[in-house]
């Protein structure tokens, strides 16, 4: 049997907070650069937030021809299109911008109808200012066949919308917003028809304009609510200075993670948001462990100067901090290497989060306590449990 190896045993006591001014400057700089980056370069929002379409296509034989695909899909009149290799050379991720529901989309719908319902179908936009769409059949049809034909382009024909009398034209009345949502489906069908013969469509994601806006809003709320809830928890369990310190550390981590997304232009999607929130949780996890020791030491060494006391607490918990960071780091590292392309942005963000979370617990959260002027006499009296722990200690000693 082997003996345990002290992986992170540090003989020397580091003066962590002696460097707090350098850390302060560094952190402020990173955060300012991140914020400036968000507003100048901008985040590479995924379709979750921006709306749009992402189609994963795999060439039926051999390699995906990106240039050729770009031309084909670009000529469909579906707006901005971007392509990238996804995972392996035969697979390509086609992204189409969110559809606005303009007349170009109606023209596209006509092409879909002619391909899927039969030649001779005409599709025209209705009156300006509405989202109405008019369908003209090549021949007289009964109600069931009308409904069947129009459903091929992703619309529902209601009983009242069926053509009356001798006309072969039916109008589907929609609002402008509804048409924009429908045009997403039209764009998907156009891409399917254009590349379907040579490529196998492995997966399709589509987010309409409405949902995109909603997801963005609920995402922002999730971040705010998480940080506030955690800060309140820390405030209840510790003192307000701890809560403020923890909150600043969390903000620091969240902002600098967003900075990483800007820097590498990683896809900022729902999963990326999950990563940001998890980083907030992880960062606080680390911070709280150090804070816990700070509180304990403050009760024990009532006269020790704050700076020394913080340094001592950080040093005492250092090997644990390094150990946990290392285990989480290797776990997330496995995700980066083996988790596949879908989790890639998420894992990279998490990896960064582990590093920055560890850094911020020491140099942001604890340094914050120094600047916030925490004093030992501000501590609430120890609760029962800690009391008991102290007594056991005395009994043991």
């Amino acid at each position: 049997m082997w003996k345990p190896v002290r992986l992170f045993a540090f003989k020397r006591k580091f003066d962590f907070l002696g460097q707090r001014r350098i850390a302060l400057i560094l952190s402020t700089l990173i955060n300012i650069v991140s914020i400036v980056g968000v507003f100048t370069i901008g985040l590479n929002f995924g379709i979750d937030f921006k709306g749009g379409i992402a189609i994963q296509a795999k060439a039926k034989d051999g390699k995906a021809e990106l240039d050729q695909l770009r031309n084909t899909v670009g000529a469909l009149g579906v707006g901005e299109v971007s392509l990238q290799e996804f995972g392996d050379p035969s697979t390509v991720l086609i992204r189409v911008q969110r559809q606005e529901g303009d007349n170009q989309c109606v023209a596209g719908a006509q092409r879909v109808m002619q391909k899927r319902a039969g030649p001779g179908w005409l599709v025209k936009p209705g009156a300006a200012g509405t989202g109405d769409v008019e369908f003209t059949a090549p021949a007289a049809l009964d109600g069931a066949n009308w409904r069947d034909a129009v459903s091929r382009v992703g619309l529902t024909l209601q009983e009242r919308q069926l053509p009356r009398g001798t006309t072969n034209t039916a109008k589907v009345d929609m609002s402008v917003e509804q048409r924009a949502e429908w045009c997403q489906q039209v764009a998907i069908k156009l891409v399917e028809d254009a590349i379907g013969t040579n490529y196998e469509l492995r997966g399709t994601e589509s987010v309409g304009p409405k949902i995109g806006d909603e997801l963005m809003r609920s995402g922002i709320w999730a971040v705010i609510a998480t940080m506030v809830a955690i800060a309140i928890y820390v405030w209840v369990r510790f003192e307000w200075q701890f809560a403020v310190g923890a909150l600043i550390a969390m903000l620091h981590d969240v902002i600098s993670t967003i900075g990483i997304f800007v820097l590498f232009q990683l896809d900022f999607s729902l999963t990326a948001l999950a990563a940001v929130l998890t980083i907030a949780g992880y960062s606080i996890n680390d911070t709280v462990v150090i804070f816990d020791r700070v509180r304990e030491n403050m009760r024990r060494y009532k006269k020790m100067p704050l700076l020394d006391l913080l340094n001592q607490s950080i040093n005492e918990t250092l090997s644990r901090t390094m150990m946990t960071s290392a285990t989480v780091f290797v776990a997330v590292g496995a995700l980066v290497l083996f988790g596949g392309p879908v989790l890639h942005s998420f894992s990279i963000a998490m990896l960064w989060g582990v590093i920055v979370g560890t850094y911020s617990s020491v140099w942001v959260a604890c340094a914050g306590l120094v600047y916030l002027g925490l004093r030992a006499d501000q501590l609430r009296p120890a609760d029962d449990k800690a009391d008991k722990a102290d007594k056991t200690e005395q009994a043991g000693a």
Binding site: W2, K3, P4, V5, L7, Q56, N145, R147, D148, S151, R152, G154, T156, R160, D173, E181, Q184, Q185, E200, G203, T204, S206, K210, I211, W221, A222, T226, V234, S269, L270, T271, A274, L277, T278, G281, Y282, I284, N285, V288, V289, D292, T317, S319, R320, T324, T327, V328, V330, A331, A334, L335, L337, F338, G339, G340, V342, L343, K388, A389, G396
Partner: protein, 556 residues
């Protein structure tokens, strides 16, 4: 602290074993599971659509149009009633969205007009002054109507999507006006999407009793006013006895008419007059209820709007004793005999029905009533092999991740303590699996990421304890005392650290949708179970180990 009473040891070991038992069906190969009782082998974690492949659609119902249609219907009834009560009025207009405005010719007839309005529908909210009366649905009524429309749409979807009975769609309400449709394992969504956009078509026809009287199911010729329509039972029978024919009918392009189906495949059919008595767009509602008298047999009630009511009244008055066929999507779902003239817009269908049958029939009727247009506002389709790739990537990442963490713990804390921590991590994973099986949660790819992260975080409690034990040991405590105080003192940090992460996890679950939820589920579960596995479970292991080995020195 380390002197656990025997019962505690047993309880802790029991919980651990139980979790393992619940988690086991997820880990055993199917060849082993086949030999186990079904109730046990079937309690496995569902794989999310991103792993097993399938389609996910978020649909929004166009409630506004439906409500406007209903208001237009209401305005027709209102006009008829006002005329009947001889209240002079200029017009009745629809205020899109929620109200009607009645403009009277003479202010003095206001109270009479209000009476007439109440007669149409007593639940309406009436406001306005002078010669204008504003009539609106109450908020309660509005919410009820919206809910009805959504329920109706769900019913239509269920019937449409699962026509062939081979898919297992999950259709759920999402908020006020949305429906989530999930179809696992579907390959081609083109047909599925078309079905979403096809509404049910309901019509009432009189049965041509002269033709029916001949007793032939499929007569050689029928008069030009009449056509043959298969009955619902007939089609179900055909599907059972001749699945090939059923397939052909479903895939025929162009679609076969009911008459063609009758002639070609000869299911049970009825000759009905082509003329439509009333259409589904005139049907306001249908409910399964019970008869007032005669022992309260289950019956089906239905209500028409005024136009539908008038047409129905005329048709039933002239055809007492004949059958009235109710045709839904080219099948006759029911053909009750007209007992008396049904005027006043509402009627009932009696028969020897069970409650279940009346419920099904009224649902069918409702699904043929005015439907809402459904728009796909979010779509996610994952092919099966893409899902298989994701499973493979997820599994490899999870295995490598946990293995690396395990090696780390072994190296850092030695075979005994590292082993205990790793055993705890294993128990934690088992408990997460068990928890997900019990909760019926789905495992998604982000969920696997949550699991991997949990593996890394779960050992944190042990790291905290062991580091503390090392500190206590360095202070010169005895092995037993260092372990006991190590546990005790690490506790508050463990609780705080876990609870804060838990706060993040729970909020992620609450605010998040789709991928975030899957991640939040495993992360939250993992944190909760790790509090058990990393502290309570390892403490039990240690207490047993200490009593057994009585170590004179801690190798940590």
């Amino acid at each position: 602290m380390l002197n656990l009473p025997r019962w505690q040891t047993i309880v802790i070991a029991g919980i651990t074993l139980l979790s393992a038992l619940f988690a086991l069906p997820n880990l055993l190969p199917s060849s082993v599971l086949d030999h186990m009782p079904h109730w046990y082998s079937s309690s496995r974690i569902n794989l999310g659509l991103d792993l097993r492949g399938g389609a996910h659609f978020l649909l929004e119902a166009d409630l506004r149009s439906v409500l406007n249609e209903r208001l237009t219907n209401l305005s027709d009834s209102m006009r008829a009633e006002l005329r009947k009560q001889q209240v002079p009025f200029k017009d009745v207009t629809v205020e899109p969205g929620r109200a009607l405005v009645v403009n009277l010719r003479d202010e003095s007839t206001r109270s009479k007009a209000i009476e007439a309005i109440r007669a149409v529908d007593p639940s309406l909210v009436i406001s306005g002054t002078g010669d204008t009366i504003r009539v609106a649905y109450s908020d309660q009524e509005m919410a009820k109507k919206k809910k009805e429309v959504i329920d109706q749409s769900i019913e239509i979807l269920r019937r449409r999507v699962d026509e062939t009975g081979t898919l297992e769609p999950t259709i759920t309400r999402q908020g006020d006006e949305r429906i989530l449709l999930q179809v696992p394992g579907i390959k081609d969504t083109t047909d599925l999407k078309r079905k979403i956009n096809q509404t049910a078509k309901l019509t009432f026809h009189l049965v041509n009793e002269d033709v029916a009287a001949t007793g032939q199911n499929i007569p050689q010729t029928v008069p030009p006013t009449t056509y043959l329509v298969p009955t619902r039972e007939g089609m179900q029978e055909l599907r059972r006895t001749n699945p090939k024919a059923w397939e052909d009918i479903q895939s025929a392009n162009p679609r076969l008419s009911p008459e063609q189906i009758c002639r070609r495949y000869q299911p049970q059919c009825l000759p009905v007059l082509k003329r439509v008595v009333v259409g589904g767009e005139d049907l306001d509602d249908s409910k399964a209820t019970f008869e007032q008298q005669q022992g309260g047999r289950p019956i089906i009630s239905f209500t028409f709007n005024s136009a539908g009511g008038r047409a129905f009244c005329a048709a039933t008055r002239a055809n007492i004793g004949k059958r009235l066929a109710i045709q839904l999507d080219g099948e006759i779902i029911s053909a009750p005999v007209v007992q008396s003239a049904i005027c006043g817009g509402s009627g009932i269908i009696t028969g020897s029905f069970t409650t279940q049958q009346t419920q099904e029939q009224s649902l069918l009727l409702r699904s043929g009533a005015l439907p809402a247009t459904l728009t796909i506002i979010q779509e996610s389709t994952v092919g099966a092999d893409l899902g298989a790739d994701a499973i493979q990537a997820g599994t490899v990442a999870a295995l490598v991740g946990t293995l690396l963490v395990a090696i780390f713990m072994f190296v850092a804390y030695g075979p005994v303590f590292g082993g205990f921590a790793n055993l705890a991590m294993l128990v934690n994973l088992l408990m997460v699996f068990a928890g997900m099986s019990i909760l019926g949660a789905s495992l998604t790819l982000p969920g696997i990421a949550g699991l991997v992260l949990t593996a890394g975080l779960a050992v944190d409690a042990n790291v905290l304890i062991y580091e503390r034990v090392r500190e206590e040991k360095a202070l010169g405590r005895s092995p037993f005392s260092s372990l006991a105080t190590g546990y005790e003192k690490a506790m508050s940090a463990i609780i705080d650290a876990n609870l804060t992460t838990l706060v993040a996890g729970v909020l992620l679950f609450g605010f998040g949708s789709g991928p975030i939820r899957g991640f939040a589920t495993t992360l939250t579960l993992g944190i909760i179970t790790s509090m058990f596995s990393s502290t309570i479970f390892t403490r039990m292991l240690l207490s047993v180990w200490v009593r057994w080995r009585r170590p004179s020195e801690l190798v940590i």
